[in-house]
């Protein structure tokens, strides 16, 4: 049933309907409304049986999830930004131990300077941590991805991050359908852990592995992640046949078939990009959008296929790798066939809006050869501010 509701509240309801037995979380903007919603549901008994652990830090939150998951409970947490980094040590631990924890990342910039607004720096900084990373383009998809995330995590024994743009999605009031309890129960069977800390059948989990076997363990982990691509597509298809709407999967192409230029992006910017493409098409410009829903594992084949024969791709990066360049753009460059010219741009850092006008101008600049090729281009940079600061720095003499 469609309800006018805040994105965070819808996600909290969706998570609750997945019946996690343990939720451990620590508040940080813009994730707060999600965990507040869940703590209400546990307090009122609407989500039961469930233990909500109010831990002392994000490190404690993910650590508690690790323990809970190893003890055989369906386990959930949520965080953002600095909180995700505070968990950093435990992230590869959860994936290395193969624990099917689901976490929402309400995407937010990383400080300094401290900034609570949206970009993708947090999740992308942890792209190699061994978690699946699914990016929601809308609040409806965020809800749907949580159901799929639990299904995938438990099917594959890997942890999954569901990334949704902070504030832009988490705090937006929209009409959202949260599937009813029976439907969720039918889609998501009860958790049957592969192994747990069973006194009747004691296992040692987390042994020390030396040079003799470590490579093999990591190889198998990487192989399993690659194989997950098939499951992600499969679960999305199962979701569609159950709930009658398209959500999740690997990539989301929009009007790319005969496109001369394609915007590649993740998250809530996809809706804006689709609007821009519609408008450009009306003007006779063959533009399209390629949305990346599954960022890890990287859907190499799907991206390559989608971009095959497309002359120009513009990657909208909402995070940068300082000292190197783009992050999403690097993946796209390595994937696209030589026939596709990849333009790599930075937009929308730290909550700067990715607007229709901005994207439209970007497409036109690329088509008219106004964008320098090769170098990473900061589309929405205020050149005056930057130039002033560079000049001032040059004047400072070190005593």
């Amino acid at each position: 049933m469609l309800r006018q509701v805040e994105g965070s509240r819808a996600v909290a309801d969706a998570v609750a309907r997945c019946r996690p037995a343990v939720v451990a979380a620590y508040p940080i903007s813009p994730q707060t409304h999600i965990v507040e919603g869940l703590s209400d549901l546990v307090t009122t008994g609407d989500l039961a049986p469930c233990e909500y652990l109010m831990v002392e830090s994000e490190f404690g939150a993910l650590s508690a999830c690790i323990g809970a998951s190893a003890a055989g409970a369906r386990t959930y947490t949520a965080t953002s930004s600095q909180g995700l980094l505070f968990m950093a040590e435990a992230l590869p631990n959860a994936s290395g131990l193969g624990l099917p924890i689901v976490m929402t990342v309400a995407n937010r910039a990383l400080g300094a300077p401290i900034n609570i607004w949206n970009d993708h720096s947090d999740a992308l900084s942890q792209r190699d941590a061994g978690w699946l990373q699914l990016f929601a383009s809308s609040n409806q998809e965020a809800v749907d991805l949580h159901l799929q995330a639990f299904a995938l995590a438990e099917r594959l024994s890997v942890p999954v991050m569901v990334c949704m743009d902070g504030f832009v999605l988490t705090h937006a009031m929209e009409e959202i359908d949260v599937p009813e309890q029976d439907a969720v129960d039918a889609f998501l069977p009860a958790f049957a852990p592969r192994q747990w800390l069973d006194p009747d059948d004691p296992v040692t989990i987390g042994a020390m592995v030396g040079p003799g076997q470590f490579t093999e363990v990591k190889y198998l982990m990487a192989r399993r992640q690659q194989a997950a691509l098939a499951d992600i597509a499969e679960v999305a298809a199962e979701f569609e046949s159950t709930f009658g709407r398209e959500s999740g999967g690997l990539v989301r192409p929009y009007r790319i078939d005969d496109a001369e230029v394609v915007l590649v992006a993740m998250g809530s910017a996809l809706g804006t990009a689709a609007d821009v493409v519609d408008a450009l098409r009306e003007e006779g410009i063959a533009a399209g959008v390629l949305g990346i829903t599954c960022y890890r594992p990287w859907p190499h084949e799907a991206v390559r296929e989608a971009l095959r024969g497309i002359p120009r791709a513009i990657v909208v990066n909402r995070a940068i790798a300082v000292g190197s360049g783009s992050i999403l753009g690097q993946d796209v460059r390595l994937t696209a066939s030589p026939g596709t010219e990849v333009h790599d741009v930075v937009m929308g850092l730290g909550g700067r809006p990715v607007t229709r006008a901005g994207l439209r101008q970007l497409v036109l600049d690329v088509l008219h050869g106004r964008l320098p090729r090769g170098a990473l281009h900061y589309v929405d940079l205020d050149e005056t501010v930057a130039a002033d600061e560079i000049a001032r720095e040059a004047e400072v003499t070190v005593p």
Partner: protein, 331 residues
Amino acid sequence: MTTTPLYQIGTFAAGNRLLDPDQRSVQSGQDRTNAITSGHRACRGCGEALAARVVLDAASRAAGGRMVTVNATGCLEVFSTPYPESAWQVPWLHSLFGNAAAVASGVSAALRATGRDDIRVVAQAGDGGTVDIGLGCVSGMFERNDDVLFVCYDNQGYMNTGVQRSGATPPAASTATTRPVGTSVGNAFGTGKSLPLIAMAHEIPYVATATVADLHDLEAKVTKAMSMHGARYLHVLVPCPLGWGSASSETIRIARLATRCGLFPVFEAEHGSVTHVTPIRQPVPVTDYLEPQSRFAHLFSGAGRPDVVAALQDRADRNIARYGLLTEETP
């Protein structure tokens, strides 16, 4: 407390078959779990390995075999689980260095939520994993009163990484990062960090200290802790022959000297108040404890450092006064 009748005068030997059955040690029983079996890689005379077996066997008996353990990174984890081998006969989970308490809270919450809370949770960590890097998680677990028994095996340093100083290293001890070189006397005289007192400040149901010198007492405290619910903390002094520079045959004697000189008070507390103190029967000066350990050798070589020894004696005397270690009554 009922003092254990002595079989051989002057010893507190565990496994005394002449005692009443209910006073016999878990270790002497044929039904002991042998939670950590032989064949692991600990050094000879390792106090931590001994304490871990005694603690977990007692906890396992108290839990009727329904127990899981969580372990922080440190010597205990490394010497017991060189993949593909494992010395653990009980379900055992290692995650990280600083998160054992939070992992254990998660296990406990999961068992409660899934209706299996007959299974008890014991977390174990070294002093580094407890008083330093793990303190935030430990304090959170205490404050929420999660149903976890947390055991700290205190060997007063980061032994696993090669004997560096920890927040539990005593003043004047030589470690790999507090060498008595130049004008240094070894580890600095800081304010100290007593985790038992910090635990008591959380007013958790049970806090106790123990050593490997009195295994019967250690078992009794574990058994008592396991009869309770909520957050419980046990701090066990475990000499480390490698890090302390003591003979591997001296582990028990040195642990006993640590208590007899007053540097390591043995007591119990419930809900923030001390309920029992183990009195010192035959007090000794701190030198008796310090001299057999090469980590304190610089205090005795050449002209020696009587001033530093006096400062250590002062710490011991303060403990004796604070806990009433020389009086038979408990405060």
